[in-house]
Subunit: 130 residues, 2 copies
DNA sequence: TTAGGTGCAAACAATTTGCCGTGTT
DNA sequence: AACACGGCAAATTGTTTGCACCTAA
């Protein structure tokens, strides 16, 4: 595999983002630096970086995915009001995978834990402007 | 909200399915009984049933969602070789949500745990026909 | 030199929506 | 009668792909 400025930039943008950006968001941040880059390249490289294990993909029930610089197993929380995705502090996510392996004989390779609800900041905002 | 034969049937099909079907799969099973039903109706009612909390939606990283009759919090395992989604036996999924609530102040309402890897039946099949 | 990568646009897949007719209440 | 809901098809959204040109190795 060849090194390209595009891929390096896409990787850097994800690493510099703490907000779990969607592919389109990565695209617009990357375009701020390299205006001619194409959306296809962003998707291609995000997918590639995921399969290389350098970044992580977080699929949402509302459609689409978010991307995360942190590869280490951890959990996420998504507020259904403001849509923000944050890291959830939970010890022992790995312990779950171990428990599954022992109980079922299946071989888990990655674990995605997603909580959905209302975040601290949005509590009480229901039925008001989002 | 009105009761309709379509919605009842869609709900029944999901409840009678133990294989976590995709929307298209629900559609084809429903059509076996009611050939004129439209795909839009299936999507509309699946979404409605999810928002009523009568069934559960499982988003996949590979795109699309699966649907599950079991509303109670539990975990899933998806084999990346055969694609099958099965229930993962894990005690105390609720305990995780409690831990998150205590630690962060966010209010989790639903929890989705997805393991991806290679299932017992597919171990050793890598690089062979899928 | 040359295989792999990019840009672009068209193709795709999954899902949602607008419109209008119909069956329930 | 009023209106929620379904059928149908078009529209959207998110993502992938074919192709011709370009560029790192």
């Amino acid at each position: 595999m060849r090194n390209t400025v595009q891929r390096d930039l896409i990787y850097k943008v994800v690493c510099d983002s703490s907000d779990h950006p969607a592919a389109e968001t990565v695209y617009s941040r990357v375009r701020a630096v390299m205006p001619n880059i194409s959306l296809g390249t962003v998707y291609r490289n995000l997918k590639l970086l995921v399969s290389l294990g350098k970044i992580r993909e977080i699929p949402l029930a509302s459609g689409g995915s978010r991307f995360d610089k942190t590869v280490m197993a951890h959990a996420h929380f998504r507020c259904r009001l403001c849509g923000e995705v944050t890291d959830a502090e939970l010890g022992s996510v790995d312990a779950l995978a171990d428990a599954l392996r022992r109980a079922s004989g299946n071989e888990p390779e990655s674990t995605e834990i997603m909580f959905t609800g209302v975040c601290r900041k949005c509590v009480g905002k229901e039925n008001k402007a989002v």
